[in-house]
Symmetry: C2
Subunit: 344 residues, 2 copies
């Protein structure tokens, strides 16, 4: 009975109050003022449930990420939320903690809340979960899930180009023995990065050595353990790419612990360019993942889908190498060139 109270106080009908509330045209200035005053005096806030019950839309988007504790994601969340707020859309937010099976329950929860659309920004997606959303008529957008791109809107990121830049750089520094710290096989994004790494290696005519690829859990600890394995190889790589920055940081720690100088005896390049990358010692060279862009495209795709439009096949986003101080000439080449480049 609440819009009715306002209506009474303003001596108009509920329809008029509603019109004022929603900015519909055709309400006289003076009436509008009266209604506004009544609203203010009564401290009236429209009931969102009555509204969405009637209208069918909730102006609520779901956002699911892999891991809120990985500093990669907060920036994405932040960007997504800012866009949403500008459109008066609220965001319901959860994470799967890298467990693809958890996606289904996340999606279900969102469906139960009847969000208008869901952005699934995880490293891996479990398809049945998406089908649930589809059945409920809720549009979905994915982050770089090529294998599902034909069935669901997708924001593609071309890992390969980033790795190519990184390899170009390492090759120019004389590195030929290059290792890789991969993510778990269960994550699509990890598999994709691993594949992109291999492709880039081969395209440069380099050999892929299986023992120079170690897998971690996408977190610091996993990176440290993976690096320990790589350091134990004989011969061992002179440079290592990591599948994300957290693992690169772990790699750095392992190198420190083993008294292997970075970048003196070992070059390390990360992936993502999270803020931490610039804070560790030496500052980490890394491949910048354009996450704000990803958020923007994802949001745009959802809005498009809500209008019933087909998603426009946008060109893939390109990550680029950001040089800091964790790379230097390869030890062998170094001797030859006599330390032309200094450690940070």
């Amino acid at each position: 009975m609440d819009i009715l109270q306002v209506a009474k106080r303003a001596r108009v009908s509920t329809a008029t109050v509603s019109r004022v509330l929603n900015g519909f045209p055709g309400v006289r200035e003076t009436t509008m003022a009266r209604v506004r005053r009544a609203i203010a005096e009564l401290n009236y806030v429209p009931n969102p449930h009555a509204r969405s019950l009637r209208v069918g839309r909730t102006r609520l988007f779901g956002l699911i990420v892999s891991d809120i504790n990985n500093p990669f994601f907060p920036e994405l969340v932040d960007a997504f939320e800012a866009l949403a707020a500008a459109e008066k859309i609220e965001v319901l937010f959860t994470h799967t903690n890298y467990d693809p099976r958890r996606l289904q329950s996340c999606v279900r929860r969102m469906i139960e809340r009847s969000v208008d659309a869901i952005a699934v920004m995880t490293s891996e997606v479990d398809e049945p979960a998406l089908e649930d959303a589809a059945k409920a008529g809720i549009p979905v957008v994915l982050m770089n899930q090529r294998r599902l791109a034909s069935r669901y809107p997708n924001v593609p990121v071309e890992y390969a180009s980033g790795f190519r830049e990184a390899l170009d750089h390492l090759l120019a520094l004389g590195h030929r023995d290059i290792g890789f710290i991969a993510g778990p096989e269960t994550l699509y994004s990890a598999r994709a990065r691993r594949a992109a790494f291999k492709t880039a290696l081969k395209s440069h005519g380099l050999h892929v050595r299986a023992e120079w690829i170690a897998a971690g859990d996408m977190r610091v600890e996993g990176g440290r353990m993976a690096m320990e394995k790589l350091l134990a190889c004989d011969p061992r790589p002179t440079a290592v790419l990591a599948s994300n920055d957290l693992m690169a940081v772990g790699a750095l720690q392992a190198a420190h612990a083993a008294h292997v100088a970075v970048p003196g005896s070992l070059s390390i390049i990360g992936f993502d360019d999270i803020p931490i990358a610039a804070m560790v010692h030496p500052p980490l060279s890394t491949i910048r993942h354009p996450r704000r862009e990803v958020a923007a495209r994802a949001f745009a795709a959802l809005q498009l889908a809500l209008k019933g439009a087909k998603p426009d096949a946008c060109p893939a986003l390109q990550p680029h190498l950001v040089l800091r101080n964790s790379t230097a000439a390869a030890p062998a080449a170094r001797r030859a060139r006599k330390g032309r480049r200094q450690a940070g």
Copy 2:
């Protein structure tokens, strides 16, 4: 008309369907089975808005933090969300970006969504915003806002004890000249930490030198600039406490840039113990802020408030010093003791 379809198909009334849906007792087994089947066959999902419109509760909590990009917060958010999920409560989440004025619009947005309760976990709170919530009958809980503790439930954190531990440690290392990197005056938590620092200094009989207190913006950049100011002092402090870890990291960078060895010539202690603290070089000694505990207490307080109970005045949480490698004997004392303690 949707529960009605189910009712028809199961040849019962909507009331019975509703009873089955909500697990109310007193429905015959066979009826229940029929209803269940109808629900399954029709793929029926109850409309959450119709439900909350009727019931008044949404099982939706609001959570407002200062800065999602500060790694202090994701862990708090994570903990809060996990507790909520266990209770089948969803979390609506935003941040003020350290701007107290933004709190009001955040709270308004939450009220408009008619959340059941709001956790305001920001460094500073703008009281009018809370009044809005109070007017709307929505319980609120704050993080360490002593000045408002009498009017709103509050999760107190006793900064002083953390600073005392830190000072004890520094004094034991022979430091007497101790500086402080404070946060902006506009943030209550920053003022509180500054006050706690001063109190701790005085209680140890040390002098507070105004020029040894520099303010930053709670981020890395601000910490760097503040440290530059402190380094320019003559004499300059031999140890510096920072109001949060991000600023401590900035301080570290400034020291590096100025070729001041940490901890050799300068000891630094942060506050919060965010993951980054362990990743920088040298690993940062810091005062651990018990944020998961804070989240748990905040959540509990809200649930209590929803039951209409008075919040129980819990004892303040105690932050503790976590020793890593950014502190060492004071330079003067060092000479005397001849480097008893090594730099990390």
